[in-house]
């Protein structure tokens, strides 16, 4: 009598495709996934706790290190929350600069997504091309603030430095080349039948399930729910710009991929409008040297490339925050892993993990 039984496979934390140090405990029946449990915490640095011992200004570099491929968006979210708490008005020009940089960083982050998805599916060349193009965005940021990954560019009260004409040229050139870059990815990956067969119809996540799990960002929109904070809870100067929110239908891997690819061109649209309409004026508001926000608390969110980045800041009236809690979108999106993997094959686990697009710095915080 042949008896079969399930077995446990520990995928990670040292594994070529877990995007950092994520461990997934898979229960497998042959190659079929019965259960998958993401185990987090291998990259925990206690950033929330570290922030309690630092002044509001000093917390900023730590937000860079949460979601390190879209540090601008984290800076943005943190500064937005603190400014709201301390009731600081930001000059219009700084708002525009923030939007431009956040959207550029969104493009860079989605390029990473395309690249890491490609390499997880096995198309190594599909990884190199987006990474090569992302390099140009990093060059722009390097020119702008002197760092390629941890920018600390968006500051409480404004931004760090103004756009020079050289940087404007670089951005314009990048935007002009962007359609041909996207064509290249589409020709190499999107149009590839093997790629399509791998993504279409796998790892379904219905809109209802996504909403219940609190999933946000492109992953939620891929499931067909129109929820984008840039439109639905507009902040900064996003209401000045025309852009659409791409939506998926089925919530499968393919939709999650295609939504992000479309978002790249939407972000480019925003940047173009912002560059054209950039007003004159100051880039920083008057902020006291020692910032002591009034006693109270605030929860403020912005739309990061992975979803809703939220900062819950409790102030006791001193120069240091009493408590900061960060809503990290990757962490919450990763909760969908079991739904995405159950009943599919080991090869699909890797793809599902890629299309969730978690950044472990953010998951473990």
């Amino acid at each position: 009598m042949i008896k079969t039984e399930t077995y446990q496979l520990s995928m990670g934390p040292v594994h070529p495709s877990t995007h950092g140090v994520l461990q997934v405990l898979l229960t497998l029946d042959g190659e079929k996934v019965v259960d998958s449990v993401p185990c987090m915490g291998y990259l925990h640095r206690g950033i929330e706790k570290l922030m309690e011992a630092r002044t509001y200004f000093q917390c900023l570099p730590y937000t860079d290190r949460l979601d390190y491929v879209s540090a601008m968006n984290n800076n943005f979210s943190y500064c937005h929350a603190v400014e709201k708490l301390a009731a600081i008005d930001i000059p219009e020009k700084a708002q525009y600069l923030r939007v431009i940089m956040a959207e550029l960083n969104r493009i860079a982050s989605h390029m990473i997504f395309i690249g890491s998805l490609a390499v997880d599916i096995g198309a190594t060349t599909g990884m190199i091309y987006p990474f090569r193009d992302r390099e140009r965005i990093l060059d722009i940021f390097n020119e702008l603030c002197g760092a390629r990954m941890t920018y600390s560019y968006i500051r409480i009260g404004g931004v760090r430095s103004d756009l020079s004409s050289a940087i404007v040229d670089m951005i314009n050139k990048f935007l002009a080349d962007l359609p041909s870059m996207l064509d290249e990815y589409n020709n190499l990956l999107t149009g590839n039948e093997i790629f399509q067969h791998r993504l279409k119809g796998t790892s379904l996540l219905s809109g209802e399930q996504a909403r219940r799990l609190g999933i946000t960002g492109p992953m939620l929109r891929a499931s067909g729910i129109d929820y984008d904070l840039r439109k639905d809870n507009t902040y900064s100067s996003y209401d000045n710009f025309e852009f659409s929110v791409p939506l998926g239908k089925n919530g499968d891997n393919w939709d999650r991929y295609i939504v992000r690819v479309k978002e790249i061109s939407e972000s480019a649209k925003i940047i173009r409008q912002a560059l054209d309409g950039i007003p004159d004026g100051q880039i920083t508001a008057k902020v006291p040297k020692v910032l002591r926000p009034p006693k109270g608390e605030i929860y403020d969110t912005t739309e990061g490339p992975r979803g809703e980045v939220g900062y819950h800041i409790v102030s006791d009236g001193s120069a240091k925050p009493y408590r900061i809690h960060i809503r990290r979108p990757s962490f919450i999106n990763l909760q969908a892993l079991n739904i995405l993997c159950k009943g599919y094959l080991v090869g699909d686990v890797v793809v599902a993990m890629s299309t969730i697009d978690p950044i472990l710095g953010e998951v473990d915080c």
């Binding site: 917390c59 570099p61 390097n142 760092a147 941890t150 190499l188 590839n192 093997i194």
Partner: protein, 135 residues
Amino acid sequence: MQGKGLLIGLSVTLRHFFSRKETVQYPEEKLVMNDLFRGGRLILNEKKCISCKLCAMACPNEALALTVEIDEQKKRHMKKYVHKSGRCLYCNFCVEACPTKAITWDKNYEIACYHIEELTYDAVKRNKEDENNEY
């Protein structure tokens, strides 16, 4: 038609096979860092420095350990300016906090080293060594 996408993909890679390459041949050609680049070691201009310790106060991670000496004329002198680059976040807050623009980055990105002790250095001592080397 199945297979068309595969052929288009092959044409893309073949085009790149013959196209210009992006690699910078590192040890021979080196990139020049821009003015705002944050990285490398801190250079302290002792003539400008007023020993106010604002840089150390701005540092989020206590990477700067300064020792200030007050001489007979009640003038403050920087005796030690220890930068623990292992702790440094390279956030540039110290450079921005300086009221006299006395500290700058040396923009050297070849700072890998074999021993952990080499990460910590004294900028004042380095200045003295440089002076000695000049004479």
